[in-house]
Structure formats: structure tokens, C-alpha cells
């Protein structure tokens, strides 16, 4: 699952994910363009229209029972109601391998109990 959200909402998303017991994910900073207004910036005589907004991209591998809770958590954490809140892409996963133990698929995305 891939979720692209506002950088200022990333913390709220993290909180919501933890509350839903989703504990494994990667996060990267990306720039992208959705339907939001372009912002206009001026540096001395140079005025530019900036079409790319900073976003944060979550990549989350989950087993089937966790798909809906994860979607709910992303929506709950990332929504402001304004254009530019982001998207969630749910995609099928061929295979998951946990490198340390060689576990695969569901076992590999189940958090290790302490």
C-alpha cells in the first residue's frame, strides 16, 4: 500500500498507524503534483509558479485483515478537507521476505512480538 500525504500531517498519520497496530512501514520525502493551486513565489525580479508540493510517501506492506484499518488510519491522520490531502494506492504484493529470518508473506509482515 502506498499513501502520499502532506508533510505537516505525517506525524498524525504515524500516530493513527500506531493506534491501528500497524508497525512496519517506510517513509520518504517526495515532491508531487495533485489538484492543488500552484503557489507563486518571487525572488527579486523573478516570479515563478511552483507546481510541485512537498509530500511524504508511506510504503506499508500489510496482510489482508490489515488493509482496511490501514486505509482508515491514513485517511484519519492525513485529512484536512482541503485540496492536496493526498492519495492512497492499494496494490497487490507478489511476495514478502523478512531478510533476517527468511520468513515470507504474512509471517514477514507480522510485527515481531517483544
Amino acid at each position: 500500500m502506498i499513501g502520499i500525504v502532506r508533510p505537516e500531517k505525517a506525524n498524525d498519520v504515524l500516530e493513527a498507524l500506531y493506534r491501528s497496530e500497524v508497525r512496519g512501514f517506510s517513509l520518504s520525502r517526495v515532491e508531487g503534483h495533485g489538484g492543488e493551486l500552484d503557489r507563486v513565489e518571487t525572488y527579486r525580479g523573478t516570479t515563478v509558479k511552483v507546481g510541485l508540493e512537498d509530500k511524504v510517501r508511506f510504503e506499508i506492506a500489510v496482510s489482508d485483515p490489515f488493509v482496511q484499518p490501514t486505509i482508515d488510519a491514513l485517511c484519519e491522520g492525513a485529512r484536512t478537507g482541503e485540496v492536496g490531502d493526498g492519495k492512497i494506492f492499494v496494490v497487490p504484493l507478489e511476495q514478502v521476505v523478512r531478510i533476517r529470518s527468511g520468513e515470507t508473506d504474512d509471517l514477514a509482515v507480522t510485527p515481531v512480538k517483544a
Binding site: R6, L37, D38, V40, Y43, T46, V48
Partner: protein, 436 residues
Amino acid sequence: MIDTPFLVAAARIDTGDTAWMLCATALVLLMTPALGLFYAGLVRAKNTLNTFMMCVAAIAVAMVMWALVGYSLAFDGDNALIGGLGYAGLHGVDFQPRAGTAIPHLVFMAFQATFCIITTALVAGAVVERMRFGAFLIFAALWSVLVYAVLAHWAFGGGWLISGGTLDFAGGVPVEMGSGFSALAAALVVGARKDYGRQALLPHNAVYVLLGAGMLWFGWFGFNGGSGFSTGNPSVLAFTNTLLCPACTLLVWFLLDLLRDRQVTAIGAATAIIVGCVGITPAGGYISPGWAMLLGGLVALPCYAVIVFRPRTGVDETLDVLAAHGVAGFTGILFVGFFAQASWNGVSDGLFFGNAAQLGDQALAALAGPAYAFAATFLLLKVLGALMPLRASEYEEARRLDVTEHGEEAYPTGEGAILVTPEAGIEEPVPVADPA
């Protein structure tokens, strides 16, 4: 016939004093951009420019207000509470020496103006990352007159503190306690940042913080060293104490850091430099180098305690102006009451050298300065808040004030930026896709 103003005018200008005071004025002016850098490093990357611009804006509004009325209210006459309007619009401020100095009145005015500027910029530290830039401009303009000029009159310009015997060498009352306790009031009225207490709001560039602190220290040699208005002994003493005192503060701060976390922190070191410079500000020309070193060590303790304690309160006094300036200025002012030494300053002894009355004068200033600064700033912001929104909207605060207030970024990549030419006629943000 010869009247008093003529006699004052006939006093001699000293070229050495004037040369030094011209340099000192430039040194103090540098402190404001240095403070901007220091503050910019302490906030999140998205608010870098907005924070820096508050300090730059202080130069603009405080300087203009100072020339129009602030200087006159601070330095015209020796009424107990407030100066007159004789120098309003810099009327009569010219090449003749300022009474009590051997430097031209213009240089005196310019030197004092740089104090007003840096003090106004200091208060911004309490309200960064959320206050509207426009509201801050109006606040800064009014604050520089209603709070700074009044306190400067009390402590420097012939008001009731200086005429009552309070010793304040370079501005423990108007600059340090004035900004520190005003900052507390401003933080209370404007309110905490929306993420305060929920998220870690961390400094984004510790190198800016260290460089800003270093440049502030450099400028402080003009600030303290110039406050004798001459190249005489008080200036020499204050200049050297400005080297000794913060060095001791740094060492003690290292020790406190080690005791607390077993590590010496860079942002702690930058803070210690400020605290040490503030501590010596009221005391510079009044205490011996040895006592200045003790003051440096001592001033670290209450300031460190307040800096550790403050984040546990709900008060988002964001950049700890109260701890670094208010509490350190308070400590310095009281220290003079204990350890002022007539054999070094030629003016007065403190309690330790047999003159208990001096401590009383210092304690009075240590109570009156903060009380006025806090109350006046609180009222001023309450009134302004009733007339206009003080804060940026929650959406703007979440996005980034650099873009919403100034239309610029501190670290633009240029990626995705499309050049807008006047011929294209694009003046407003254009919706690229209609979300509906």
C-alpha cells in the same frame, strides 16, 4: 548672554571617543541580523525566513519610530517617568556633544537606536512560527515606543531608576529584562503553536544557531564596550568583562549539560554565550574582572533551570527569551548590588564592599523593570488582538509561513518552478486542475 544650553554646546568633542562610538554603533546593529540567524536556526525549516524577517523588520520599524518619537521620549529631559518631545523627529539632534559625553548628539542617538532595534527583535522569539507578519510589524512599532523607550528613559535617560541610583551599565533593565518579560507576556497572549506539546518542534540548523550566537557575542563588544560612551576606563572594563563572563558561562553550561545528559550540546553552548553576554550587560563597567568571571558561572544556574523547566509548562515562549534574557538580566542587575566596586568603577560600591543601599536600588530595578514590561506588553497585545488577528490561520501555520507570509522559501530547489513572465499575464495562483 551665556545660558546653560550654550555651555553644554561648548563642551569638546573627543575624536577618539567619537571614532569608537561610530564603530560600536555598527557592531550593535550587526547583532540584529545575528539574532535573526540564531532564531532562524532554532525554528523548523519551513519558517526560517519568516523568523529571520521578524528581526529584519525590527530594524525598519523600530528605527523609524525611534527617530520619530522613541528617542525623544527616552532621552529628552529628566522627568521621572517619561521624556519630553523636544527631540521628536530628531529636532535639535546635531553635531554638538550630548550632555555628559564627548561625542556628537547624532552618534549618541544612533548608538541608542541600535539598542532599541535589537530589543524589539528579541521579543519576536516568543511568537515565532505563528504570529502574522503584519500584526508583528504593528506590535513592534508600538512596543518600541510604549515599552522600550519608557524603560530606556527610566534606566538611561534621566528617569527615576537612574536618578535614584540604580546602576545599569548597558541595559539590564530596558534591553534584557524588558525583552524577556515582554516575551513571556507575548507568549501568553498570542498562545502556543498548534503542535506545541504534541509534536517535537526541533531546531532545524544548529550551525546557524552557533554562528548567530558567535556574531551576537562579537556585536556585544560594541554593546557593552560602547555603553561608557568613551574610550575611558568603564568602556575598557566592560569590553574585557564581555570576554571573560560568557567564557565562564560556557564552561559552567558544559558542566550542567554533562550532569544532566553526560553530553555537551551545541545549542546549549550557543545559549550559554547569550546568557553570559546578557549577565554582564548591566554589570560590565561596574565590577572587577574577577567578579565578572564569577557572575559568568553563576548566571548559568538560574537560566539553565528555567530553560529545563519552561517546556514542561503550557507556555510556548518559543525561543526562551525569558530564560536567556529576562532571568540573566535579572541576575546581572542584582549581582551589581552585591559586587560593584568603587575602586574599579569610580561610582559606587555594592553590599559586599560595604554599601547595602546599592543592593536596594538594584532590587527596585529588578522588580519594576519586569513588572512594567510584562504588564505593558500584555495590555498592548490584548488591545491589538481585539483590533486584528494576531495569529496566522491554522492552515497557514501547518503549511509554512515562509510561503504564506512572504512567497519565498529558505531552501528552494527550483524543481517544478515555471517562470512567470509579465507578458504571460499570470498574476494570481492558477488552478491547474479543477478539484470539483
